[in-house]
Symmetry: C2
Subunit: 376 residues, 2 copies
């Protein structure tokens, strides 16, 4: 990739960085991991008492606020756990040749399992919130509420705590309201299950083995004998190249042409699987993350990431979220015995989220283009 230096944050810029820096980075991430794990336990993540066992919203209005804030603290701790797990796993991948192969090949799938398991509860909650917000948006502006300002209506407190951004549903049609209730039921159930699964995972011997390995990593990184003095930059540049190659294979010309109507093209396809056209974008999202982590290792964690890489990453996050939300709407429409009005609302919602997918691709193309054009 001769264009590399013009296209991406250059991992080879700045002073020589060697395996020692990698060891420092991994020790730092392992420490963060252990801190997040302690926080998660303190917020009830590992216990199986009532308020932590069920997501916030099921208790009475008074306790709901406390439960919600404890649930939020627990989700924040889980996010911090995932964050460092991803960084450890990603760095082990990018700088593979510098690490004892047996050790690093052993821990990577375990870290992936852990962050995947912890991610689900948050993902289902966020998906539900995204879909309910979209349903409200699609129903037009909400009418002026009949009652004057004051405390939320019956049950409003718990709902507001769980979905703070979701407005009143007073303006929904029957179809939209039923679609919302169906999605709420399905995704809340999925979230509750994901929560139980995560609790089980965190209490398992499999998890304790990972935590032990990370605890070792916090003090002693298993580098190969030559690694401490080896230049990290060629490996970081290889990660940048993999990203650039994957981006080059995306249909960016189409994505950069507004309203190309490409994302919905399989909207009524008989195939119930997620859209195959989304996969290369999801792949770029992962490669962009690996590139970011490699830059963190080489340049140090405090280095502000270039704004264009951040906005490209945000566009790909939005792409993934909209893609999964559109699948959830399509999936809900396959529920037996739903009313035609519910199915209609889910069809509109599915298409709306596919438009979001297309909009996210457009946004990515714009960030990426800016990047290439702005280079000297």
């Amino acid at each position: 990739m001769a264009q590399r230096h013009h296209d991406l944050t250059d991992p080879a810029a700045g002073p020589l960085t060697t395996g020692d820096a990698l060891a420092g980075y991994l020790r730092g991430q392992a420490t963060e991991f252990l801190r997040a794990l302690r926080l998660h336990r303190e917020t009830g993540g590992a216990a199986s008492n009532g308020s932590a066992g069920a997501p916030a919203g099921s208790s009475a209005a008074g306790a709901a606020g406390a439960a919600a804030s404890s649930a939020q603290a627990r989700l924040d701790a889980a996010r911090a756990l995932r964050r460092s797990a991803r960084r450890i796993s990603g760095s082990l991948h990018t700088f593979r040749p510098l690490l004892e192969p047996e050790w690093s090949e052993g821990i990577r799938p375990e870290l992936a399992w852990l962050s995947g398991t912890l991610a689900l509860e948050h993902a289902y909650g966020a998906r539900l919130e995204r879909l309910l917000l979209a349903l409200n948006r699609l129903s037009g502006p909400a009418p002026v509420p009949p009652q004057p300002a004051g405390p939320a209506g019956p049950g409003g407190g718990a709902r507001a705590a769980a979905h703070p951004a979701v407005p009143d549903r007073g303006n929904l049609t029957v179809g939209a309201a039923k679609a919302g209730a169906l999605l709420d039921r399905q995704l809340t159930l999925a979230r509750t299950r994901a929560h139980s699964t995560a609790l089980q995972a965190l209490g398992s011997s499999r998890f304790h083995a990972v935590a032990d390995k990370v605890a070792v990593l916090a003090s002693e990184v298993p580098l190969t004998a030559t690694a401490p003095a080896t230049d990290l930059r060629p490996l970081a540049m290889a990660a940048a190249d993999r990203l650039a190659d994957a981006v080059a294979a995306l249909p960016l010309v189409t994505a950069g042409s507004p309203y190309n109507a490409e994302a919905l093209i399989h909207g009524l396809s008989p195939d119930p699987a997620p859209h195959p056209q989304d996969a290369p974008w999801h792949q770029v999202r992962l490669l962009l993350r690996l590139h970011r982590y490699a830059c963190e290792v080489v340049h140090g964690r405090g280095t502000p990431l270039e704004i264009r890489l951040l906005s490209a990453g945000e566009a790909l996050d939005r792409h993934r979220d909209a893609s999964e939300a559109s699948s959830a709407a399509a999936q809900a429409a396959r529920t037996p015995r739903i009313a035609p009005a519910t199915a209609y609302a889910l069809g509109v919602l599915h298409a709306d989220q596919r438009h979001e997918v297309e909009a996210a691709r457009y946004a990515f193309q714009r960030s990426w283009q800016k990047q290439t054009v702005a280079a000297p």
Copy 2:
């Protein structure tokens, strides 16, 4: 409107044009009207025999081609009739002060009735074709047909004649196929009714009174006494001003920002009426047409219209078509006792067409912007 000369094709450019030119234009349009009327009668438009009484596609494969080509000739003649009726009516409106008020106020609603009545058959056919094409597009690429090249499959001939651009439906899901069949039924019925109504209208005494008036217009235009020497340009400029004012009131900043998700915002609104947000765009479409006709009167019919006005007009036509198609999909979804899969497909289709509405607004904004920026 001080900006007028920079924003629009300037009706005041070029040599002085007076009421004499208006009389010539109206005579020309009246002659076109009478010619189209004769053509329409020759192609069976006024007769009520079988092949003209029902839209093409219902007869056997052999006769279908001939029936379709005769139906096409009839629709072409009806389009030519509407075309001159609109131009006569529009010019009478724009240059009202130059014409005998009683006469021109009397004929304008009659011309509007006529072109409205004649437009419906074509509109329903085009709407169905647009929706069936969208259903096919939304179902992903069609699978490779199993049989080698050759004549169309069973029944394919008649369907291909009626909807030449609609591909095979082999790749549709049950929901999409059922939605297509439902729309086909409803819009074909509406088209057949519109056809009968148009035939009745063309045989009515009301129509004969209009035709007689237009026949008089072809030889003698009822100008006021001072009109022949009156400058047409101030009235043409007033039409341009009305257009510019209506465009200035459109939400063009939003429309110019791709993927603003504005067009679908009432997609699930409880209000079954057409989207109120579309009305100002429809109004601009009519004013743009009046401006075009005024330019034709002032500059002569052979003058090539500026490409930007043409593309702006095409965007507004597309806006109107997509808006009406989205309403037809929403309307079909209210049919009692449809399957949820059908309703789901109609929801996706509705949202797809609202997306088209948004795309058309974007295209209009781009044409219009280009226009303003390109001016000296």
